[in-house]
């Protein structure tokens, strides 16, 4: 399965407080959460992400609070995949659990710029900078996480057990 879209690039240690500030956690409606995603850091994000757009993050993406509202807001906003140098532990679990694809690739994050058009093959992990024709490989997804993805998220995985 391929995702293609525009890149929204962020730096290191993007915490879940900046992804969805606490003042928006008084609801769990995912559409409202999506609208307020990155409300302070990039106020234009919630209203202008197109379906299939891609987030590039630095190291330790999603650190801090365990709030699942963060990956949920990103997914609902239309982001098709997050590629980061590394992910914080709880965010990593949450993303797989709710079916938001995430990949790790230091090379891709360093080379690709904000606004670039990028294509990501979720099966092979191949990341292509469409403008420049350059390809990067993502780290392989661990087998157990792949099983959760293949089932369609943790709830479906558990139901099948």
């Amino acid at each position: 399965m391929k995702i293609q879209g525009k890149v929204w690039k962020f730096g290191d240690n993007i915490d879940t407080d900046v992804i969805i500030p606490a003042r928006f956690l008084n609801v769990s409606d995912k559409e409202i959460l999506a609208k307020n995603c990155f409300a302070d850091l990039r106020p234009e994000f919630g209203g202008s992400v197109a379906k299939g757009d891609i987030i590039l993050g630095g190291s330790n993406f999603g650190c801090g609070s365990s709030r699942e509202h963060a990956p949920l807001a990103i997914k609902t906003a239309g982001i098709g995949v997050i590629v980061a140098k590394s992910f914080a532990r709880i965010f990593y679990r949450n993303a797989f659990n709710i079916g938001l694809p995430i990949l790790e690739s230091k090379e891709a994050v360093e080379a690709i710029l904000d606004g670039d058009k990028v294509s990501v093959d979720l099966i092979t992990g191949e990341i292509t900078n469409v403008n420049k024709g350059v390809k990067y490989a993502a780290n392989p997804i661990p087998d157990f996480m792949r099983a959760i993805i293949d089932a369609g998220g943790l709830v479906e995985y558990v139901k099948k057990q």
Binding site: N13, D15, D17, V18, P21, A22, R23, L25, N26, V27, S28, D40, L41, S59, N60, C63, G64, S65, S66, R67, E68, H69, P71, L72, S86, A88, R89, I90, R93, N94, N97, I98, F144, G153, L154, V155, V158, K159
Partner: protein, 419 residues
């Protein structure tokens, strides 16, 4: 091969004699926790799993603490979802406003977590319970919803980092200073996916309150959990709080650690984490003159009686600086009552503090002390991310209760000795 404390608890909860880092386990959960922010999503997931009832009504704790007493209509609706669920499934450990407190303060206080337990919470600071010899870690709402249905969680065994604290503690240096000093050394990602085992002669003398503060902030360097060996101090703390039998695990002499960090505390003074990251740490003595608009004493990190008593000791007979707001929030109903009985609350009131009901309050920018652009707050809480306590143009400085109290009087970040 020998095992660490974390490895032993994980093995015991997954029916194995031995585990090693990297092993994937299906573990049985002794207590599952959620709050008024994370429970509503978890409850939705619980119903999606399709079970008619929770795995064990006595092994789930639901604590309204983030936005209660409710700050607005939407947050009241979220709290009601949790309250209704607790009522419908007869959840034993649901704490209504008036009984409640901050989740990570009241669970140890009420003896709901004891040595050897495996506790999973939909809150990142669930790692707090390592202080009482339990394995505990934070997850998101989907994991928690599944746990409420099945009583089990998948976990990967983390490698353990051993941190040895030795030397002699200076006056006014406590668990908060030690943990932010360590986070400053490790970096915010330095223990990602790892367990931390706190050990050494210094921590063996530390109170449970100080240990709770240290375990609480293990997540701020990415750690999965931060655990202490159970000792006489732990046993004294739990003895009148539970009738359950604790299981005491000690690391084997040949346990394998990923790395060992030795910290001599003798020359470490009170520390402060500068904006906007818990690893941006320096000694208070080298912090110059940071003028403050607000001081907050409270949170799951430092909202316990010992923390309030230490702050009150410094504030006794003194007043907050002119133009500064001093906000004190006891971590639980019991702590609030004890602080009244011991004259601590009166000291705070005389010093010009305002006292809030037990709640997370301003720590996460929820309510009761939000900052506007350009404002600075010294806070005993655990995070100083951009915009954590309000406007992204505000600043949060993380300190221990002694420095917080001294800073409230000075009107700037400073040491008790400066008073």
């Amino acid at each position: 091969m020998g095992m660490t404390i974390t490895e032993k608890i994980l093995a015991a909860h997954s029916g194995k004699n031995s585990v090693k880092p990297g092993d994937l386990l299906q573990a049985k959960v002794d207590l599952a926790l959620a709050n008024d922010v994370t429970a509503p999503l978890a409850i939705k997931v619980f119903y999606e799993v399709g079970r008619s009832d929770v795995f064990d009504r006595e092994k789930i704790a639901l604590v309204p603490d983030h936005f209660v007493p409710n700050k607005d209509i939407p947050s009241a609706a979220q709290a009601k979802i949790m309250r209704d669920f607790a009522g419908k499934h007869n959840i034993k450990h649901y704490f209504e406003v008036g009984d409640m407190g901050i989740e990570h303060v009241i669970l140890p206080e009420k003896g709901l977590v004891i040595p050897g337990d495996l506790v999973i919470g939909a809150d990142s600071h669930t790692c707090t319970y390592g202080a009482v010899g339990a394995f505990s870690t934070g997850v998101g709402s989907t994991d928690l919803g599944v746990i409420m249905a099945t009583g089990e969680v998948w976990l990967k065994v983390p490698p353990t980092i051993k941190v040895v604290f030795k030397g002699t503690l200076q006056k006014w240096v406590g668990g908060k200073d030690l943990i932010i000093y360590l986070i400053g050394k490790l970096g915010v990602e330095g223990a990602n996916y790892r367990a931390i085992e706190f050990t050494g002669p210094v921590v063996k003398e530390l109170s449970i309150e100080n240990r709770l503060t240290m375990s609480n902030m293990a997540i701020e360097c990415g750690a999965k959990n931060g655990i202490f060996e159970t000792d006489e101090i732990t046993m004294n703390y739990i003895k009148d709080r539970t009738t359950r039998k604790p299981v005491i695990y000690k690391a084997d002499p040949d346990a394998k650690y990923e790395r060992e960090i030795i910290i001599d505390v003798t020359d470490i003074g009170p520390q402060v984490a500068w904006p906007h990251s818990p690893d941006n740490v320096k000694p208070v003595s080298e912090s110059g003159s940071v003028k403050l608009d607000q001081v907050f004493i409270g949170s799951c990190t430092n909202g316990r009686l010992e923390d309030l008593a230490q702050a009150a000791e410094i504030l006794k007979g003194r007043k907050r600086a002119e133009g500064l707001r001093l906000i004190v929030i006891p971590g639980s109903q019991l702590i609030y009552k004890q602080a009244i009985q011991q004259g601590i609350i009166e000291t705070f009131l005389d010093a010009g503090a305002t006292i809030g009901p037990p709640t997370c309050g301003p720590c996460l920018g929820g309510h009761m002390g939000i900052l506007t652009k350009g404002e600075r707050c010294a806070s005993t809480s655990n995070r100083n991310f951009l915009g954590r306590m309000g406007d992204i143009g505000s600043e949060v400085y993380l300190v221990g209760p002694a420095v917080a109290a001294a800073s409230a009087v000075l009107g700037r970040i400073g040491l008790p000795e400066e008073l």
